[in-house]
Symmetry: C2
Subunit: 354 residues, 2 copies
């Protein structure tokens, strides 16, 4: 703020001074401590109903607003939680964020949402900023398997819950989908349709989701007695349409033989759609594609995408509850929650051409 | 918080007391006022470089974190802004929110995002909560044409910027797309393709976008000398797929004669797609559909949606700048910003069948 406008602001503020707790107490004819108890939901029952009502009326008449900043300064608590995500415009995250907010709302907590763009430096600056705002804990959706910042926070015993992805160390609670089971559902579906050579467009190997889904892909093929061919796997550097397109193009360019693709997530599957489209290949007649996430509107794609549904809203809500438990008691034993996934069969997977 | 765990928490906090500014000053061998100036980006240049560096090092060694809550208590400012949206899972809002955050970030402000579900009571509770957290201003995306809460805030001269939608009164700054021009682009495109009887699935009339686009639809038809038939307009109660589907069904049920539909937004257009699909009507061969917004992934729909593009990220970023101007100086004259729109021609609009 420029100095001139800052002075102007301070002057403005002095003139329109808002009512304090002391004003309310005086107006209601009670001690400030009584007024404070009457206005705090946690202590209201310590005051008799008639007095509480008189204080409430005085507060309303004076336009008094309790000052949670003053309160949080005393207790170093702000009834708020930081939510660290890569990018709110990635359709994976709005339902998680909404779930977090719905989980926090009844407890009177609010969420600060920050976007890191998966940039470690930006993330570190944002987390510092959140902590200097005295957030009570963090919900983090940006985890890489090796993640020094998260490990530091965990070592400090700072309340922390990971969503969607985990880190290598089991010391941090996480709420994720049961990816191994989800991949098995997808591969079994393709096998039942008659596919034998199934490729995998794999997510980044430094994410638990990328690595875990890749491992589950290999394991399920093995269980089913289908060929496990490393030449049928192309890895991506990011969870993006562009990377999905590049990966499938590489597989097609080297003339790998396959009739179906399991994409690491729906955005990678969208990239596969683009490549098939460009090359005049029909999905599913020439190539089946299965995604992962069931993000919004994939039922309206051309063709509607067969994919594994992850309950993102529930992931967010469970994470909020887990975090609030840890905020209340930092010695709560670490636990992680694995939510069941389902396969949503639409029109992008069909029997292979003969 | 339960009392037992609250006591436990306070005990914990006493034990691990974090470093204060006074500790940093002592460690660096300077006066606390000097340490404060050295650590505040706004006043750093008032301290010589060598001293500033010594203070910075001391702060780092002690793990000192400046306490913006203490600072905001003094000035009643928290360097934060509330963002009031209907629902983050509506794909319209993530890019607006991201734009707001990108606009606030360089100024050191953060955003609190709250979802109202278009429920006036919930909205009022959330706005009270934001104000009691001392936000510096609000960016509001939930405006109805008649909106007592927004009018109250404006009357108080509370810093406020509307995005996407406006209220009836011109006293509140707003950042929106130039809808009238956008509708004209869409209707002219349909007319050029040869459509004469163009229906409108209109958004809720208590929103500026719903009413404004409906008015522009009539005006453009008139200008082009095409029939303006109230029987070709069906209104929606909400901006949702379900409402879009219900509206088009009503038009089809009463055997209204038309070959193209302008949908009030993309979600309403998606509802139109569903109805055409159910009735075995082909888009665009049997019926052209044009949307509004160009939300994420409508280029991948079946068929890819022709729609009017609104620069949502830019709307958010402009709103953040406008709001920061007002926070710095509440007497800044009210101005509104209208951003130009473009038509994105894809495959959902084609010449009518003969």
């Amino acid at each position: 703020m420029r100095y001139a406008t800052r002075l102007q602001f301070l002057r403005y503020f002095v003139v329109v001074r808002t009512a304090t707790l002391r004003d309310v107490a005086r107006h209601a004819g009670v001690h400030p401590g009584t007024a404070s108890r009457a206005l705090n939901p946690r202590t209201r029952r310590l005051v008799n109903d008639e007095t509480a009502e008189r204080v409430r009326e005085a507060a309303e008449q004076l336009g008094y607003r309790p000052n949670p900043i003053a309160r949080s300064l005393k207790t170093s608590r702000s009834a708020s939680v930081g939510v660290v995500i890569p990018d709110i415009t990635n359709p994976l995250f709005p339902p998680i964020v909404r779930g977090v907010e719905d989980g926090l709302y009844p407890a009177g907590y609010s969420a600060w949402i920050v976007n890191t763009d998966n940039d470690a430096e930006r993330e570190s600056a944002l987390v510092s900023s959140l902590r200097s705002r005295q957030v009570d804990g963090l919900i983090v959706a940006t985890a890489r398997l090796q993640h020094p910042l998260i490990e530091e926070l965990a070592a400090e015993n700072f309340p922390l819950v990971l969503v969607n992805r985990r880190i290598e160390s089991p010391s941090v609670p996480a709420v994720t989908g049961d990816d191994a089971r989800g991949v098995a559902l997808a591969i079994r579906h393709l096998a039942e349709l008659g596919h034998e050579r199934i490729a995998h467009v794999a997510g980044p190997p430094w994410t638990s989701t990328g690595r875990g889904r890749h491992r589950a892909y290999r394991e399920t093929l093995q269980e089913l007695g289908l060929p496990v061919d490393p030449g049928l796997v192309a890895g991506c550097e990011a969870w993006s349409e562009q990377e999905g397109a590049r990966a499938l193009s590489r597989l097609l360019a080297k003339k790998a033989r396959f009739t179906a693709v399991l994409a690491g997530n729906d955005l990678l599957a969208l990239g596969c759609y683009d490549v098939l489209n460009e090359r005049g290949l029909d999905c599913p007649a020439d190539m089946s594609v299965v995604g992962f996430n069931d993000m919004a509107f994939v039922d309206k794609l051309r063709p509607p995408l067969t994919t594994v549904r992850i309950p993102h809203h529930q992931i967010g809500a469970e994470a909020a509850r887990l975090l609030l438990d840890r905020v209340e008691n930092r010695d709560t034993p670490v636990k992680s929650i694995l939510l069941p996934l389902t396969l949503v069969e639409r029109q992008s997977a069909a029997p292979p051409a003969r």
